[in-house]
Amino acid sequence: MTFLVDLFRIVAIVVGTFFFVAGTVGLLRFPDSLTRLHALAKADNIGLGLVVLGLLPLTENVLAAFKVILIWALVLVSGGSTAQLIGRALRSGRR
């Protein structure tokens, strides 16, 4: 059981890190602003989410786990809304 939890932890953190690296590569290499925005959103939501999931088994009590999940929720809400706002700015700029 411990082995499974450890495996889950390591896989989640490694894949999360991969998403951050991929998001950076996307931001640098994708051809236009909207595709770059897509890469950014993936890194924001999935990358941080997987890191948070991977850290959950390490939390000592419910409060610490709650705090870690709250951080993810904050970034989800603000990342999603900001992506909308950036998309809107892009569209009005192109008009």
């Binding site: 890194a43 990358g47 941080l48 990342g79 700015a89 892009l90």
Partner: protein, 90 residues
């Protein structure tokens, strides 16, 4: 294990910071905003990893504060972008 968590934190931080090259190259302000957005999300992830890898207390609270401030700075910057495009009607 702590070493590997710290190494992961460093990897995430250095990689999202590489995205800051977009601040230099642009081509426009939206890209610059996105690069900082990615840096602060990656920073939150790195801070969480550091919080669980070391015994420095309170690093998770720094991550919490950073997650809030990211949204704050993003709204202020979006504010600026629109004035640039002449969309500011009262």
């Amino acid at each position: 294990m702590n070493e590997s968590l710290l190494g992961t934190a460093g990897l995430i931080l250095l990689s999202v910071a590489a995205g800051l090259a977009r601040v230099l190259s642009g081509p426009n302000d939206v890209e610059r905003l996105m690069a900082v957005q990615l840096l602060s999300t990656g920073g939150v992830a790195a801070l969480l990893l550091i919080a669980y890898a070391t015994n420095v207390p309170g690093v998770d609270d720094v991550a919490l504060g950073l997650a809030l401030l990211t949204a704050f700075a993003a709204i202020a910057f979006v504010n600026h972008l629109e004035a640039d495009e002449g969309g500011a009607e009262t």
